[in-house]
Every structure is written in C-alpha cells, then in structure tokens.
Amino acid sequence: NAGVTQTPKFRVLKTGQSMTLLCAQDMNHEYMYWYRQDPGMGLRLIHYSVGEGTTAKGEVPDGYNVSRLKKQNFLLGLESAAPSQTSVYFCASSRTPGLAGTGGYEQYFGPGTRLTVT
C-alpha cells in the first residue's frame, strides 16, 4: 500500500501561471481533503470531497478549484497563482466518518507539495 501520494513534491510558479496538484490514495477511502500549511497557522482546509463526483468548500477556498472524477484521485487547481498561495499543500483521506466499524475519523496524510509563487 502506498497510502496517500502527492505529485509533484516541489514546484515554483510565476504569478499568474496555473497548475494542478494531484493526490492519489489506494485505501478505498470515500473522503478526501486538501489543506495548506503556513507557519504558525496549523493546517487550513481548502476543499474536501465526501465521495466520487462531489466537492465542497473548506475554510480557505478562494483561488483554488478541485475535482474528484475518480474515487482514488483528488485534484487541486490554481488557475492564476498569486504569491499569497506560496505554501505547503497536503492531501488527506479518510473512511466515512461515523460509519460503524470504520475505526473513526482519523485522516491519512500525503507527504506534501511545497509550492513557491514568485
């Protein structure tokens, strides 16, 4: 099991450029999440998905879009990158929270993508 994988690991963009971050999980999890991590601010939820074909906004969704066309993949897009989007991005997945016998609400995280926008 690879768990949760993210590509790329590093990326440098110029202001106004676009890019897509890919997250893949092989645990058959229904729920997937995208976070950004900035110093002193913990992890903030950007978007999440409760199943294939669904997406929902998190705490800081502006400037980002997502898609969940396949259950195992969750894509995060930046249409026009800004320096304020310089951050480390983490993807996570979980079983359906609250479902009997699923073991709880814990999320499993990928290794992260370090994005710099100049």
């Binding site: 999440y33 913990g42 903030r44 983490f90 609250g98 609400y105 992260g112």
Partner: protein
Amino acid sequence: AQSVTQLDSQVPVFEEAPVELRCNYSSSVSVYLFWYVQYPNQGLQLLLKYLSGSTLVKGINGFEAEFNKSQTSFHLRKPSVHISDTAEYFCAVNDLYGNKLVFGAGTILRVKS
C-alpha cells in the same frame, strides 16, 4: 464553530525529561480528539486518538493523552523524551458535523541533548 488552542508554540526540553504539550478545544458537545506528529519535511502521522471510553489514551512512541471534558482539554504527555521526538505536534478536533477536522496552530517540540 469549533476551535483548537495549542497554548505553546515551542517547547524546548532536555533529553530524558518529561514533557506536556497542551491543547484546549472549544466545544462542549461530543468530540473526537486527535494528536498528529509532523517530522521535518514530512506529512502528518497519527499519534493517538480519543473517540470514546477511557479518558487516558495511549499512542505510538510512548506518548499518551488525557481527555478532560470539564476543562475541555486533551494534553499530550511523554515521561521521557528522545532526540528523535523533535517534531511539530498538532492537536485536532472533529467539527460539529463530524466530517472535517479542525487543527490547532501546532507546537514545535525541540529535544536538546
């Protein structure tokens, strides 16, 4: 909305000393609580969780945490730390609908020899 407060941004401690990392959460309704650890340049790894039952929860690497409902706290403890415990630690609580986690700002534990 739920919120999580980690009271210390950095905790320096000498090797083999005990340590406590403090976490308080806002909600008084049923909660599920988590501690995650992040080693340098890595993703987050689950350390332990409280869902129900015994208020003292044991996790990996010798860590434990105690759920205190009256004080809305979930402090993380280890009786004797190692250099390898140097990392950032995050406390998290489920949101009121249960399908998202709210994270604290993190506490950097620095273990010195």
